[in-house]
Symmetry: D2
Subunit: 144 residues, 4 copies
């Protein structure tokens, strides 16, 4: 049913720098902000596949909407840290994607996430099938 | 030219509570977040005038866009503080509003702002005149 | 081992209003921001128990740190929506709490979360047992 | 009184990409977020001078705190835009800095800011003189 078997194992790596805006009064990165870091990394992963979300919204009349996020926070990160974000597409269905993502500080795992994303019509926000051109691009994404 | 003379002196008061999300690693509220507090207070001030921005966007095809912000930060605020936000319309022109806003912790002035806002067409984002019904509501806002 | 059996079933309800800052270019609330809404509601739930986190940090030398978040997004919410946030403590262990939270727009479930929180030393950020006074307060929280 | 005359004209350039988190339901970047972009650019400008704020807080017991921000918003920017942020130190006093910053989309000026920053003791948050080593670094910053 899903194209899991066909998915290229796309481990995308991307760096995020921690700024003041990301921290809280505990002296560490506010946990909700890792979802922003993971979002940025997914956007950059899509960009490496030639997919720009603003263009997709205009050209395809649809957009990705996050439907499920599970995040585990293993250790804190702090101002000025340079985090490496890894993104891997693990399931690519007809209408949803599932990605594994993780944030690392050198060799320490900071946090890891499982994110499920659906494709919806931009106007109605109703779930709909991924356009086939988009699906082809995702399924055939090269190993990196 | 402007309707300054006719403006009711609308000192609107509204409370904002400081949460973790608002603070940074300096242990205090991140300065950019006062713009969010002032925005929320303006939204609530408009709501007291019967103006809901989501409705306005649909009914009038336009929206407010901030064109100028000046903020002075006088003293820090911290987690759990309850700030009083005061909002006053000081200039109401044909296409722009200017508001004075301030944030207080008890009798201490925390920050104060001068915010200029224009009315734009929601689709083109071009500046345009305030719809007359909207202008009437603003100019005739009761003292509070 | 845990005090689950003793937990008062604390369904705390609290309202969050959606402002511009919470939305994104999809026209809906940015999914990561529900974690902020749930955080605010937990803070208010603690406040109803007489627990202020800024005081706790000073008096007890510790703070809560989120270790695990699972959020499901069922339907979008938009500018000006008034969301009801429900918070329920479902597990209270020696060093961690687990809460169920949900966001509702009238009778529609918007999103729901399971949040695990640990207690850490504020300076070392090392996990440590919940102070007994704090634990007593949580375990004996009245039904609401 | 100030060291204005001695300031190297440090036009620092740095790129910011617009992500979903930065936009609002108007379809454009939420105006308060330009303060975040300018903050990130100042942090990177300091980094080019060998100054890391987390280190400074530990080594010098002080930190920068923003005391004044004036921002003018000239035209909107949108999802996926790559903004160029320019940063220039225009006044370097004994205890405060003033910077001019601007955000450009290609040849279009998106927004421009004047930011005043003070140096404070990290614990008391009281304004204090810039440490001389820090002042020297700022005053002698090379043209870029």
């Amino acid at each position: 049913m899903t194209n899991t078997a066909h998915i290229a194992n796309a481990h995308h790596q991307w760096q995020v720098r921690v700024y003041w805006e990301d921290t809280d009064a505990g002296g560490i990165v506010f946990y909700a902000n890792y979802l922003k870091f993971f979002e940025r990394a997914r956007t950059e992963w899509l960009r490496t596949l030639g997919l720009q979300q603003a263009h997709m919204q205009q050209a395809l009349g649809g957009m990705f909407v996050v439907s499920d996020t599970s995040v585990r926070y293993h250790r804190p990160s702090r101002l000025d840290d340079a985090l490496q974000i890894y993104t891997e597409l693990v399931v690519c269905g007809k209408a949803t994607l599932t990605l594994k993502q993780s944030a690392w500080l050198d060799t320490d795992l900071v946090s890891e996430a499982r994110i499920r994303i659906g494709w919806v019509n931009s106007h109605t926000l109703k779930p709909t099938r991924l356009p086939s051109a988009l699906l082809d691009t995702l399924v055939n994404a090269p190993r990196t």
